[in-house]
Subunit: 191 residues, 2 copies
DNA sequence: GTCTATAGCTCGATAGAC
DNA sequence: GTCTATCGAGCTATAGAC
């Protein structure tokens, strides 16, 4: 995949991805011209086309590693969970997976309805969203419990995906916040 | 404000706003050219400039009525609420206000980090977001309670703002869903 | 592997006729 | 109040030199 690298330096390819993520977060994906990415890297726009075949290819480079791993996780999962413990274990695994790729997650957080995404990526994300919600639902749930599952899965997803615009309490660390959020979600699931 | 109108027909201005909202939801704001709005209305791009001074002015026409009313509500509100009942009354009022303008809410739902918004509108929305969260916090709350307030306000806001991409249960009406969601939020606040 | 130059396109906005 | 025509800016992507 990659050539051998020296001590501290990253692939040019990786540098491009990292700078792109920063700019996509600031300006959005359609709002970030390739010229801006190039100038922040200190070289010209055309040079980007040596490393990526077009703009969407940069986006794919950022998102695909994470999306592939989510695909794999969802394929391993059973049709439905039948008990709360194994469901919770799955949710934690899913959450850890998301948190393991902050670069991709940052770009996912730009979204919203994400109409600007290439259709192939959009469809994958939508499939993940629907499937994870389905997997929170246990057999024999009432309407109230189903709706609550949707709300809580949504809450968990947002907790992994959003970092920037978050309302921060005094000196609370992100880890402490996450601990509180997850225990609230777990308790609400069990209630 | 408006000239007298015939029986069923809307202002051209209102027609433009309604068509724009539909297209903004489909393609996003930056992804919707004025030419598309014009063609869907059956007239030319230049005609739009008789009714609005530029593209952002259309967006303002959609959002400002709601944002103005939210501003007014937030100015009426006390510095902080001191009891759970008056806080809940405020939250219901805020929610009803949002639901009273589905057109504006649809456009707000496009967002996400909403970097595409004109700065003036973006700042207003951010102020609303922060202020409403502050108002959910009662004196003497623990860290856990503060975080839960953030989560629940966020949940409530999303319940008013999102319609489209929602995971729908069988034959459940939106009203039934909202009833379940609100009772969950209320219960979680009181817990 | 990076450059300059430019093709080719789309868009917002304006001018001016009707 | 709506039209045609067009300007000018900004963008993706490619060609071809080094």
């Amino acid at each position: 995949m990659s050539t051998k690298r020296g001590t501290g330096s990253l692939d040019t390819r990786e540098k491009i991805l990292n700078v792109s993520v920063e700019l996509f977060m600031e300006n959005g994906y359609p709002g970030t011209p390739l010229s801006l990415i190039a100038s922040k890297l200190g070289f010209s726009k055309a040079a980007l086309y040596y490393h990526f075949k077009n703009k969407d290819d940069i986006l794919n480079g950022i998102l695909n590693p994470l999306l592939d791993r989510i695909d794999a996780l969802l394929e391993e999962a059973p049709q439905r969970f039948t008990d709360a413990e194994s469901r919770w274990k799955f949710l934690v695994t899913y959450s850890d997976l998301m948190l393991s790729d902050p670069r991709a997650v940052s770009v996912l957080a730009i979204g919203g309805s994400q109409v600007w995404l290439p259709e192939s990526i959009y469809n994958r994300i939508e499939r993940h969203r629907v499937r994870t919600i389905e997997l929170t639902m246990l057999p024999g749930m009432s309407d109230e419990e189903k709706v609550r599952s949707i709300l809580l899965m949504d809450m968990m997803h947002r907790e992994t995906v959003f970092d920037k615009r978050r309302f921060v309490i005094d000196g609370m660390t992100p880890e402490r916040r996450r601990e509180i959020v997850y225990s609230f979600i777990k308790k609400s699931f069990e209630d």
